[in-house]
Symmetry: C2
Subunit: 213 residues, 2 copies
Amino acid sequence: MGYKVSKAVVKRLPKYYRYLKQIKSKGIVRVSSSELSQITGLTPSQIRQDLNHFGGFGQQGYGYNVEELIGELQNILGMTVKYNAIILGAGNIGQAIAQYTGLSDTKFNITAIFDKSKKLVGKKISDIEVNPIDYLEPYLKKNDVHIAIIAVPLESAQELADICMDNGVKGIWNYAPLDLKVREGVRVENVHLDDSLFTLTFYLTNPWAAEKK
Amino acid sequence: MGYKVSKAVVKRLPKYYRYLKQIKSKGIVRVSSSELSQITGLTPSQIRQDLNHFGGFGQQGYGYNVEELIGELQNILGMTVKYNAIILGAGNIGQAIAQYTGLSDTKFNITAIFDKSKKLVGKKISDIEVNPIDYLEPYLKKNDVHIAIIAVPLESAQELADICMDNGVKGIWNYAPLDLKVREGVRVENVHLDDSLFTLTFYLTNPWAAEKK
């Protein structure tokens, strides 16, 4: 390892993980790249190439061991690393993330939630008490936080991201509707939910433009 | 018009729209593809190619009129079409979508919300009353619904999507953690929020893999 991988490849890895888990839940123990191709809509050679970036997991003519490949993907995706995360903003999105149960396979760990609203401070969400936003900086100074999940309105997102980066946070999962500016060495994933809605309305409006799967 | 456009191009269009709105809010009236390149991280020629799919909006050596291009993108993305949408599931995600104010520039219209929980039925979210899920089918038979937003748990997502498709819904925006099976002529956009989290934890775990922007 030590070479670059395109973001398109990286973005397909969680998809493989998701499909393999579905396959495993049906009791299937071995899968070929052609079978994966039928489920994912990608070509067998693309699937083999993607996975070969991380070592050759399959065997020619024999396919992939489903459970092994799931384990490899969990390692590759960082699901076996204990990342501490905090949520900024205890509105609907912040609450949805705090209550999301789909991370139970991972070591991902939400340690604190912050909000500026007096109505929300003190409330418990998934057993985590909402702290006032003023506690953010002292909390970051005392605790090891790897990821900040930003679920506050546009206006305060960059300022809070800056406080997090000033205090050693290296990953930002951003739900605020702007592309955050981050520093060298910090990773950000911006989630723009309406981008996907507009992709949908694009295809409804321009059905001629649709590619075959 | 009448040819295919790759999904990668389509997915960049909402991004252009977002950046152009930011530019416009700063009072900028004209922008070159090189300037757009600096903001978006895409190459000028990619930007020109993407936009040329939909007609040549810019002028050589003169750039794009920001307001005009925003208007064109609104047309292309279907934001000027009156789409009626319903939300299935009034939990955190359903509520977040119902309360989202970022669609005020569009003609997108949420007409009804449904949930099976007796605690939520009758509650008002953004002035829309939550209906019992049993009312879904009669509602679809009486009203013109273009898009169903699925924000229910995994178990009931496919069944509800089937009811919607049986009754003429042509677009599905799916937040349930599975890739819905849809029929010929129906478009689905699946939102898998944790795919983007795992992209983030991938890069935190494998910093060697990061591409330059």
